[in-house]
Symmetry: C2
Subunit: 247 residues, 2 copies
Protein backbone atom coordinates (compact mmCIF):
# COMPACT_ATOMS: atom_id res chain seq x y z
CA UNK A 1 0.00 0.00 0.00
CA UNK A 2 1.59 3.23 -1.16
CA UNK A 3 0.10 5.74 1.19
CA UNK A 4 1.05 8.81 -0.88
CA UNK A 5 -1.03 7.37 -3.69
CA UNK A 6 -4.30 7.51 -1.74
CA UNK A 7 -7.07 10.01 -1.31
CA UNK A 8 -6.51 11.36 2.21
CA UNK A 9 -9.24 11.64 4.82
CA UNK A 10 -11.64 9.20 3.22
CA UNK A 11 -11.97 5.46 3.71
CA UNK A 12 -14.37 2.77 2.54
CA UNK A 13 -16.11 0.21 4.72
CA UNK A 14 -18.08 -2.65 3.22
CA UNK A 15 -20.89 -4.50 4.93
CA UNK A 16 -20.96 -7.75 2.99
CA UNK A 17 -24.22 -9.57 3.59
CA UNK A 18 -24.74 -13.27 3.03
CA UNK A 19 -27.68 -15.48 3.89
CA UNK A 20 -27.11 -18.89 5.44
CA UNK A 21 -29.15 -21.13 7.71
CA UNK A 22 -31.94 -18.58 7.80
CA UNK A 23 -29.62 -15.92 9.15
CA UNK A 24 -28.14 -12.77 7.70
CA UNK A 25 -24.39 -12.84 8.09
CA UNK A 26 -21.67 -10.28 7.52
CA UNK A 27 -18.07 -10.89 6.60
CA UNK A 28 -15.73 -9.63 9.32
CA UNK A 29 -11.96 -9.53 9.82
CA UNK A 30 -10.31 -10.34 13.12
CA UNK A 31 -7.61 -7.73 13.84
CA UNK A 32 -4.15 -9.04 14.67
CA UNK A 33 -2.95 -8.27 18.21
CA UNK A 34 -6.47 -7.52 19.39
CA UNK A 35 -9.76 -9.15 20.23
CA UNK A 36 -11.63 -6.75 18.01
CA UNK A 37 -13.01 -7.32 14.56
CA UNK A 38 -13.50 -4.92 11.68
CA UNK A 39 -15.41 -4.52 8.46
CA UNK A 40 -13.55 -5.16 5.22
CA UNK A 41 -12.44 -1.77 4.03
CA UNK A 42 -9.65 0.30 2.66
CA UNK A 43 -8.60 3.56 1.13
CA UNK A 44 -9.15 5.07 -2.28
CA UNK A 45 -6.34 5.09 -4.81
CA UNK A 46 -6.01 8.43 -6.53
CA UNK A 47 -6.45 6.80 -9.91
CA UNK A 48 -9.67 4.95 -9.01
CA UNK A 49 -13.30 5.99 -8.65
CA UNK A 50 -14.65 5.49 -5.14
CA UNK A 51 -17.18 2.96 -6.45
CA UNK A 52 -14.42 1.15 -8.31
CA UNK A 53 -12.32 0.95 -5.18
CA UNK A 54 -15.25 -0.47 -3.22
CA UNK A 55 -15.73 -3.16 -5.86
CA UNK A 56 -12.01 -3.83 -5.71
CA UNK A 57 -12.11 -4.30 -1.92
CA UNK A 58 -14.95 -6.75 -2.34
CA UNK A 59 -13.13 -8.66 -5.02
CA UNK A 60 -10.01 -8.84 -2.87
CA UNK A 61 -11.88 -10.31 0.11
CA UNK A 62 -14.33 -12.61 -1.65
CA UNK A 63 -12.80 -13.36 -5.04
CA UNK A 64 -16.10 -12.37 -6.59
CA UNK A 65 -16.76 -9.93 -9.41
CA UNK A 66 -19.95 -8.14 -10.41
CA UNK A 67 -21.21 -8.09 -6.86
CA UNK A 68 -24.31 -6.09 -5.99
CA UNK A 69 -22.84 -3.13 -4.20
CA UNK A 70 -24.57 -0.04 -2.94
CA UNK A 71 -23.31 3.09 -1.29
CA UNK A 72 -25.55 3.87 1.66
CA UNK A 73 -24.08 6.49 3.97
CA UNK A 74 -21.09 8.67 4.72
CA UNK A 75 -20.03 8.51 8.34
CA UNK A 76 -18.46 11.86 9.05
CA UNK A 77 -18.39 12.50 12.78
CA UNK A 78 -15.43 14.62 13.73
CA UNK A 79 -14.19 12.14 16.33
CA UNK A 80 -15.16 8.85 14.69
CA UNK A 81 -11.64 7.68 13.87
CA UNK A 82 -8.66 7.10 16.11
CA UNK A 83 -5.50 5.01 16.07
CA UNK A 84 -6.18 2.70 19.01
CA UNK A 85 -6.68 -0.31 16.74
CA UNK A 86 -3.56 0.54 14.72
CA UNK A 87 -1.09 1.04 17.57
CA UNK A 88 -0.73 -2.65 18.48
CA UNK A 89 -0.13 -3.43 14.82
CA UNK A 90 2.72 -0.93 14.66
CA UNK A 91 4.19 -2.13 17.94
CA UNK A 92 4.29 -5.67 16.62
CA UNK A 93 5.65 -4.55 13.25
CA UNK A 94 2.57 -5.67 11.38
CA UNK A 95 2.48 -2.15 10.03
CA UNK A 96 5.54 0.11 9.66
CA UNK A 97 5.91 2.94 12.18
CA UNK A 98 5.86 5.33 9.24
CA UNK A 99 2.22 4.49 8.59
CA UNK A 100 1.16 6.00 11.91
CA UNK A 101 0.74 9.50 10.59
CA UNK A 102 -1.52 8.21 7.81
CA UNK A 103 -3.84 6.53 10.28
CA UNK A 104 -3.61 9.48 12.63
CA UNK A 105 -5.61 11.63 10.18
CA UNK A 106 -9.27 12.32 10.67
CA UNK A 107 -11.17 9.96 8.37
CA UNK A 108 -14.69 10.06 7.08
CA UNK A 109 -15.78 6.69 5.77
CA UNK A 110 -18.22 5.87 3.04
CA UNK A 111 -20.32 2.80 3.77
CA UNK A 112 -21.23 0.31 1.05
CA UNK A 113 -23.32 -2.78 1.49
CA UNK A 114 -22.88 -5.80 -0.72
CA UNK A 115 -25.18 -8.74 -1.25
CA UNK A 116 -23.49 -12.02 -2.10
CA UNK A 117 -24.48 -15.60 -2.39
CA UNK A 118 -23.08 -17.18 0.75
CA UNK A 119 -22.07 -20.44 -0.88
CA UNK A 120 -20.10 -18.68 -3.62
CA UNK A 121 -17.64 -17.29 -1.08
CA UNK A 122 -15.78 -20.49 -0.39
CA UNK A 123 -12.48 -19.03 0.74
CA UNK A 124 -12.64 -15.41 1.89
CA UNK A 125 -9.23 -13.81 2.12
CA UNK A 126 -7.97 -11.89 5.17
CA UNK A 127 -5.69 -8.88 4.80
CA UNK A 128 -2.22 -8.40 6.33
CA UNK A 129 -3.57 -6.73 9.45
CA UNK A 130 -5.99 -9.56 10.21
CA UNK A 131 -5.69 -13.02 11.68
CA UNK A 132 -8.70 -14.36 9.89
CA UNK A 133 -11.92 -13.52 8.12
CA UNK A 134 -15.29 -15.08 8.90
CA UNK A 135 -19.02 -14.85 8.37
CA UNK A 136 -20.74 -13.66 11.56
CA UNK A 137 -24.49 -13.98 12.05
CA UNK A 138 -26.03 -10.58 12.72
CA UNK A 139 -27.39 -11.51 16.14
CA UNK A 140 -23.92 -12.26 17.50
CA UNK A 141 -21.53 -9.71 16.10
CA UNK A 142 -18.33 -9.57 18.19
CA UNK A 143 -16.69 -6.42 19.50
CA UNK A 144 -15.77 -4.16 16.59
CA UNK A 145 -13.32 -1.29 16.07
CA UNK A 146 -14.35 2.36 15.72
CA UNK A 147 -18.00 2.88 14.74
CA UNK A 148 -18.31 -0.36 12.77
CA UNK A 149 -21.26 -1.54 14.88
CA UNK A 150 -23.13 1.58 13.87
CA UNK A 151 -22.16 1.10 10.22
CA UNK A 152 -23.57 -2.43 10.20
CA UNK A 153 -26.79 -1.31 11.84
CA UNK A 154 -27.18 1.48 9.31
CA UNK A 155 -26.59 -0.96 6.45
CA UNK A 156 -29.20 -3.29 7.86
CA UNK A 157 -31.82 -0.55 7.93
CA UNK A 158 -30.86 0.55 4.41
CA UNK A 159 -31.28 -3.01 3.17
CA UNK A 160 -34.64 -3.30 4.90
CA UNK A 161 -35.92 -0.15 3.24
CA UNK A 162 -34.56 -1.25 -0.12
CA UNK A 163 -36.48 -4.49 0.13
CA UNK A 164 -39.78 -2.62 -0.04
CA UNK A 165 -38.78 -0.97 -3.32
CA UNK A 166 -36.83 -3.50 -5.22
CA UNK A 167 -36.20 -7.24 -5.31
CA UNK A 168 -33.12 -8.35 -3.45
CA UNK A 169 -33.08 -12.14 -3.52
CA UNK A 170 -31.16 -12.55 -6.76
CA UNK A 171 -27.97 -11.51 -5.05
CA UNK A 172 -28.35 -13.41 -1.79
CA UNK A 173 -29.82 -16.74 -2.84
CA UNK A 174 -28.40 -19.53 -4.98
CA UNK A 175 -29.59 -19.81 -8.55
CA UNK A 176 -32.45 -22.15 -7.63
CA UNK A 177 -34.36 -21.80 -4.39
CA UNK A 178 -37.68 -22.70 -2.86
CA UNK A 179 -40.52 -20.44 -1.87
CA UNK A 180 -39.94 -21.05 1.87
CA UNK A 181 -36.26 -20.12 1.43
CA UNK A 182 -37.18 -16.87 -0.27
CA UNK A 183 -39.75 -16.13 2.41
CA UNK A 184 -37.24 -16.80 5.14
CA UNK A 185 -34.88 -14.29 3.53
CA UNK A 186 -37.59 -11.67 3.49
CA UNK A 187 -38.61 -12.38 7.05
CA UNK A 188 -35.03 -12.13 8.22
CA UNK A 189 -34.39 -8.81 6.50
CA UNK A 190 -37.73 -7.34 7.52
CA UNK A 191 -37.45 -8.73 11.05
CA UNK A 192 -41.03 -9.92 10.99
CA UNK A 193 -42.99 -13.02 10.13
CA UNK A 194 -45.23 -13.20 7.09
CA UNK A 195 -48.17 -15.41 6.23
CA UNK A 196 -46.87 -18.18 4.02
CA UNK A 197 -49.81 -18.18 1.61
CA UNK A 198 -50.05 -14.41 1.27
CA UNK A 199 -46.31 -14.05 0.77
CA UNK A 200 -46.46 -16.62 -1.99
CA UNK A 201 -49.27 -14.82 -3.79
CA UNK A 202 -47.63 -11.42 -3.47
CA UNK A 203 -44.17 -12.43 -4.62
CA UNK A 204 -45.60 -14.39 -7.55
CA UNK A 205 -47.70 -11.37 -8.54
CA UNK A 206 -44.49 -9.39 -9.03
CA UNK A 207 -43.79 -11.62 -12.01
CA UNK A 208 -40.06 -11.97 -11.36
CA UNK A 209 -40.03 -15.70 -10.58
CA UNK A 210 -39.90 -18.68 -12.90
CA UNK A 211 -40.89 -22.16 -11.80
CA UNK A 212 -38.15 -24.55 -12.89
CA UNK A 213 -40.52 -27.51 -12.73
CA UNK A 214 -38.03 -29.22 -10.42
CA UNK A 215 -38.58 -29.93 -6.74
CA UNK A 216 -36.34 -29.94 -3.70
CA UNK A 217 -36.55 -33.55 -2.47
CA UNK A 218 -35.13 -35.00 0.71
CA UNK A 219 -37.19 -33.54 3.54
CA UNK A 220 -39.93 -35.44 5.35
CA UNK A 221 -42.72 -33.42 3.80
CA UNK A 222 -44.18 -32.34 0.50
CA UNK A 223 -41.33 -31.34 -1.81
CA UNK A 224 -41.35 -27.59 -2.56
CA UNK A 225 -40.87 -26.36 -6.12
CA UNK A 226 -37.59 -24.80 -7.14
CA UNK A 227 -37.73 -21.30 -8.60
CA UNK A 228 -35.26 -19.07 -10.37
CA UNK A 229 -35.48 -15.37 -11.03
CA UNK A 230 -36.57 -14.29 -14.49
CA UNK A 231 -33.47 -12.30 -15.39
CA UNK A 232 -35.26 -9.87 -17.68
CA UNK A 233 -38.19 -9.17 -15.38
CA UNK A 234 -35.89 -9.03 -12.37
CA UNK A 235 -33.61 -6.45 -13.97
CA UNK A 236 -36.67 -4.44 -14.93
CA UNK A 237 -37.93 -4.52 -11.34
CA UNK A 238 -34.53 -3.44 -9.99
CA UNK A 239 -34.49 -0.60 -12.49
CA UNK A 240 -38.01 0.68 -11.99
CA UNK A 241 -38.72 -0.38 -8.44
CA UNK A 242 -42.11 -1.46 -7.17
CA UNK A 243 -45.07 0.83 -7.17
CA UNK A 244 -45.65 2.28 -3.75
CA UNK A 245 -47.17 5.27 -2.07
CA UNK A 246 -48.24 7.96 -4.48
CA UNK A 247 -46.42 6.90 -7.57
Amino acid sequence: MLLHNLLPGLSIDCVIFGFHQNELRVLLLKMKQSERWSLPGGFIRLDRDVDEEAAHILHTRTGLDNIFLKQFHLFGKQNRSNTSHIEPLIEQNVLPASSFQWFDQRFATIGYYALVEYASVTQPIADTTSDCIAWCPLPDIPSLILDHHQIIEHARVALKEELNFRPVGRNLLPDEFTMPELQSLYETILETSLDRRNFRRKILSLGILKDTGKKRLGAANKAPSLYTFDEVKYAEAVEKGFKSGFL
Copy 2:
Protein backbone atom coordinates in the same frame (compact mmCIF):
# COMPACT_ATOMS: atom_id res chain seq x y z
CA MET B 1 -11.04 30.18 5.20
CA LEU B 2 -8.00 28.56 6.76
CA LEU B 3 -7.20 25.78 4.34
CA HIS B 4 -4.92 23.84 6.71
CA ASN B 5 -7.84 23.56 9.06
CA LEU B 6 -9.95 21.53 6.62
CA LEU B 7 -10.47 17.86 5.90
CA PRO B 8 -8.64 17.35 2.59
CA GLY B 9 -10.15 15.60 -0.40
CA LEU B 10 -13.76 15.94 0.65
CA SER B 11 -16.25 18.69 -0.08
CA ILE B 12 -19.95 19.26 0.53
CA ASP B 13 -22.53 20.31 -2.03
CA CYS B 14 -26.05 21.25 -1.03
CA VAL B 15 -29.08 21.05 -3.27
CA ILE B 16 -31.44 23.46 -1.55
CA PHE B 17 -34.99 22.91 -2.77
CA GLY B 18 -37.74 25.46 -2.49
CA PHE B 19 -41.24 25.41 -3.93
CA HIS B 20 -42.68 28.54 -5.55
CA GLN B 21 -45.27 29.15 -8.24
CA ASN B 22 -45.82 25.44 -8.63
CA GLU B 23 -42.18 24.87 -9.45
CA LEU B 24 -39.32 23.23 -7.61
CA ARG B 25 -36.41 25.62 -7.41
CA VAL B 26 -32.83 25.25 -6.27
CA LEU B 27 -30.58 27.90 -4.83
CA LEU B 28 -27.57 28.52 -7.08
CA LEU B 29 -24.53 30.79 -6.96
CA LYS B 30 -23.23 32.63 -10.01
CA MET B 31 -19.42 32.31 -10.11
CA LYS B 32 -17.44 35.50 -10.46
CA GLN B 33 -15.48 35.84 -13.72
CA SER B 34 -17.53 33.14 -15.39
CA GLU B 35 -20.92 32.43 -16.85
CA ARG B 36 -21.25 29.26 -14.82
CA TRP B 37 -23.20 28.66 -11.67
CA SER B 38 -22.57 26.33 -8.77
CA LEU B 39 -24.30 24.66 -5.88
CA PRO B 40 -23.79 26.13 -2.43
CA GLY B 41 -21.03 24.09 -0.88
CA GLY B 42 -17.82 24.12 1.03
CA PHE B 43 -15.24 22.13 2.89
CA ILE B 44 -15.28 20.41 6.24
CA ARG B 45 -13.53 21.99 9.19
CA LEU B 46 -11.47 19.46 11.11
CA ASP B 47 -13.36 20.29 14.29
CA ARG B 48 -16.83 19.81 12.79
CA ASP B 49 -18.92 16.77 11.92
CA VAL B 50 -19.71 16.53 8.21
CA ASP B 51 -23.43 16.88 8.96
CA GLU B 52 -22.72 19.89 11.13
CA GLU B 53 -20.73 21.52 8.37
CA ALA B 54 -23.55 20.94 5.88
CA ALA B 55 -26.00 22.60 8.27
CA HIS B 56 -23.53 25.45 8.67
CA ILE B 57 -23.30 25.96 4.90
CA LEU B 58 -27.07 26.10 4.73
CA HIS B 59 -27.27 28.57 7.54
CA THR B 60 -24.64 30.75 5.91
CA ARG B 61 -26.51 30.93 2.60
CA THR B 62 -30.09 31.12 3.81
CA GLY B 63 -29.90 32.44 7.35
CA LEU B 64 -32.10 29.54 8.41
CA ASP B 65 -31.56 27.07 11.22
CA ASN B 66 -33.08 23.66 11.79
CA ILE B 67 -33.44 23.02 8.11
CA PHE B 68 -34.45 19.59 6.86
CA LEU B 69 -31.19 18.28 5.50
CA LYS B 70 -30.40 14.86 4.17
CA GLN B 71 -27.23 13.28 2.90
CA PHE B 72 -28.02 11.44 -0.31
CA HIS B 73 -24.89 10.43 -2.20
CA LEU B 74 -21.12 10.60 -2.34
CA PHE B 75 -19.83 11.57 -5.76
CA GLY B 76 -16.43 9.97 -6.03
CA LYS B 77 -15.39 9.71 -9.65
CA GLN B 78 -11.65 9.93 -10.00
CA ASN B 79 -11.80 12.77 -12.50
CA ARG B 80 -14.85 14.67 -11.24
CA SER B 81 -13.00 17.73 -9.92
CA ASN B 82 -10.71 20.14 -11.68
CA THR B 83 -9.58 23.74 -11.26
CA SER B 84 -11.04 25.30 -14.39
CA HIS B 85 -13.67 27.21 -12.40
CA ILE B 86 -11.05 28.35 -9.87
CA GLU B 87 -8.39 29.65 -12.25
CA PRO B 88 -10.25 32.82 -13.30
CA LEU B 89 -10.86 33.59 -9.63
CA ILE B 90 -7.15 33.37 -8.87
CA GLU B 91 -6.24 35.41 -11.95
CA GLN B 92 -8.56 38.19 -10.83
CA ASN B 93 -7.35 37.96 -7.24
CA VAL B 94 -10.72 36.83 -5.95
CA LEU B 95 -8.83 33.92 -4.42
CA PRO B 96 -5.13 34.04 -3.44
CA ALA B 97 -2.70 32.19 -5.70
CA SER B 98 -1.73 30.12 -2.68
CA SER B 99 -5.14 28.49 -2.67
CA PHE B 100 -4.52 26.85 -6.04
CA GLN B 101 -2.88 23.77 -4.61
CA TRP B 102 -5.85 23.23 -2.29
CA PHE B 103 -8.29 23.24 -5.19
CA ASP B 104 -5.92 21.20 -7.32
CA GLN B 105 -6.52 18.15 -5.10
CA ARG B 106 -8.82 15.37 -6.13
CA PHE B 107 -12.10 15.91 -4.28
CA ALA B 108 -14.96 13.58 -3.57
CA THR B 109 -18.08 15.48 -2.65
CA ILE B 110 -20.91 14.47 -0.40
CA GLY B 111 -24.32 15.62 -1.61
CA TYR B 112 -26.99 16.87 0.77
CA TYR B 113 -30.42 18.01 -0.16
CA ALA B 114 -32.31 20.53 1.92
CA LEU B 115 -35.98 21.39 1.90
CA VAL B 116 -36.84 24.95 2.82
CA GLU B 117 -39.86 27.13 2.74
CA TYR B 118 -39.26 29.41 -0.21
CA ALA B 119 -40.75 32.49 1.38
CA SER B 120 -38.60 32.19 4.49
CA VAL B 121 -35.44 32.77 2.46
CA THR B 122 -35.88 36.46 1.91
CA GLN B 123 -32.27 37.41 1.39
CA PRO B 124 -29.97 34.54 0.42
CA ILE B 125 -26.31 35.41 0.82
CA ALA B 126 -23.66 34.86 -1.86
CA ASP B 127 -20.09 33.90 -0.98
CA THR B 128 -16.89 35.74 -1.89
CA THR B 129 -16.40 33.76 -5.08
CA SER B 130 -19.88 34.55 -6.39
CA ASP B 131 -21.57 37.51 -7.99
CA CYS B 132 -25.00 36.61 -6.77
CA ILE B 133 -27.24 33.84 -5.49
CA ALA B 134 -30.66 33.02 -6.89
CA TRP B 135 -33.48 30.52 -6.94
CA CYS B 136 -33.56 28.70 -10.28
CA PRO B 137 -36.57 26.67 -11.39
CA LEU B 138 -35.54 23.10 -12.12
CA PRO B 139 -36.61 23.18 -15.76
CA ASP B 140 -34.19 25.98 -16.58
CA ILE B 141 -31.00 25.39 -14.67
CA PRO B 142 -28.12 27.35 -16.22
CA SER B 143 -24.69 25.96 -17.07
CA LEU B 144 -23.06 24.60 -13.92
CA ILE B 145 -19.49 23.84 -12.86
CA LEU B 146 -18.08 20.32 -12.49
CA ASP B 147 -20.71 17.60 -12.05
CA HIS B 148 -23.28 19.84 -10.37
CA HIS B 149 -25.95 19.05 -12.97
CA GLN B 150 -25.61 15.40 -12.08
CA ILE B 151 -25.74 16.18 -8.36
CA ILE B 152 -29.02 18.08 -8.76
CA GLU B 153 -30.53 15.29 -10.83
CA HIS B 154 -29.50 12.72 -8.24
CA ALA B 155 -31.02 14.84 -5.46
CA ARG B 156 -34.24 15.13 -7.40
CA VAL B 157 -34.55 11.37 -7.73
CA ALA B 158 -33.70 10.90 -4.06
CA LEU B 159 -36.43 13.37 -3.10
CA LYS B 160 -38.90 11.62 -5.37
CA GLU B 161 -38.22 8.26 -3.76
CA GLU B 162 -38.37 9.78 -0.29
CA LEU B 163 -41.83 11.14 -1.02
CA ASN B 164 -43.23 7.63 -1.29
CA PHE B 165 -41.97 6.75 2.18
CA ARG B 166 -42.34 9.84 4.25
CA PRO B 167 -44.18 13.15 4.21
CA VAL B 168 -42.20 16.04 2.82
CA GLY B 169 -44.53 19.03 2.67
CA ARG B 170 -43.82 20.34 6.16
CA ASN B 171 -40.45 21.62 5.04
CA LEU B 172 -41.40 23.06 1.67
CA LEU B 173 -44.74 24.71 2.29
CA PRO B 174 -45.72 27.64 4.47
CA ASP B 175 -47.38 26.91 7.78
CA GLU B 176 -50.86 27.03 6.28
CA PHE B 177 -51.59 25.77 2.81
CA THR B 178 -54.47 24.52 0.69
CA MET B 179 -55.09 21.05 -0.64
CA PRO B 180 -54.41 22.11 -4.26
CA GLU B 181 -51.09 23.62 -3.17
CA LEU B 182 -50.06 20.40 -1.46
CA GLN B 183 -51.15 18.39 -4.48
CA SER B 184 -49.19 20.64 -6.79
CA LEU B 185 -46.08 20.02 -4.67
CA TYR B 186 -46.55 16.27 -4.93
CA GLU B 187 -47.20 16.42 -8.65
CA THR B 188 -44.10 18.50 -9.21
CA ILE B 189 -41.84 16.21 -7.22
CA LEU B 190 -43.34 13.05 -8.69
CA GLU B 191 -43.41 14.50 -12.19
CA THR B 192 -46.89 13.22 -12.78
CA SER B 193 -50.46 14.40 -12.41
CA LEU B 194 -52.77 12.98 -9.80
CA ASP B 195 -56.53 12.85 -9.56
CA ARG B 196 -57.60 15.71 -7.33
CA ARG B 197 -60.24 13.74 -5.45
CA ASN B 198 -58.16 10.62 -4.96
CA PHE B 199 -55.15 12.62 -3.81
CA ARG B 200 -57.31 14.36 -1.26
CA ARG B 201 -58.65 11.10 0.10
CA LYS B 202 -55.23 9.49 0.28
CA ILE B 203 -53.39 12.36 1.93
CA LEU B 204 -56.18 12.83 4.47
CA SER B 205 -56.10 9.12 5.28
CA LEU B 206 -52.48 9.51 6.41
CA GLY B 207 -53.81 11.51 9.33
CA ILE B 208 -51.06 14.13 9.27
CA LEU B 209 -53.21 17.11 8.31
CA LYS B 210 -55.32 19.39 10.45
CA ASP B 211 -58.05 21.58 9.00
CA THR B 212 -57.60 25.09 10.40
CA GLY B 213 -61.22 25.97 9.70
CA LYS B 214 -59.96 28.96 7.75
CA LYS B 215 -60.24 29.43 4.00
CA ARG B 216 -57.99 31.00 1.37
CA LEU B 217 -60.14 33.79 -0.07
CA GLY B 218 -59.42 36.00 -3.07
CA ALA B 219 -59.70 33.75 -6.10
CA ALA B 220 -62.71 33.69 -8.40
CA ASN B 221 -63.86 30.28 -7.24
CA LYS B 222 -64.86 28.32 -4.20
CA ALA B 223 -62.43 29.14 -1.41
CA PRO B 224 -60.26 26.13 -0.47
CA SER B 225 -59.71 25.23 3.18
CA LEU B 226 -56.39 25.97 4.82
CA TYR B 227 -54.58 23.05 6.42
CA THR B 228 -51.60 22.73 8.71
CA PHE B 229 -49.57 19.63 9.52
CA ASP B 230 -50.32 17.93 12.80
CA GLU B 231 -46.85 18.21 14.31
CA VAL B 232 -47.12 15.06 16.42
CA LYS B 233 -48.55 12.84 13.70
CA TYR B 234 -46.20 14.33 11.14
CA ALA B 235 -43.11 13.63 13.25
CA GLU B 236 -44.39 10.10 13.78
CA ALA B 237 -44.82 9.61 10.03
CA VAL B 238 -41.31 10.93 9.33
CA GLU B 239 -39.95 8.58 11.96
CA LYS B 240 -41.80 5.44 10.96
CA GLY B 241 -42.41 6.05 7.29
CA PHE B 242 -45.48 4.88 5.44
CA LYS B 243 -46.36 1.27 5.09
CA SER B 244 -45.35 -0.05 1.71
CA GLY B 245 -44.41 -3.25 -0.03
CA PHE B 246 -43.92 -6.14 2.33
CA LEU B 247 -43.68 -4.38 5.62
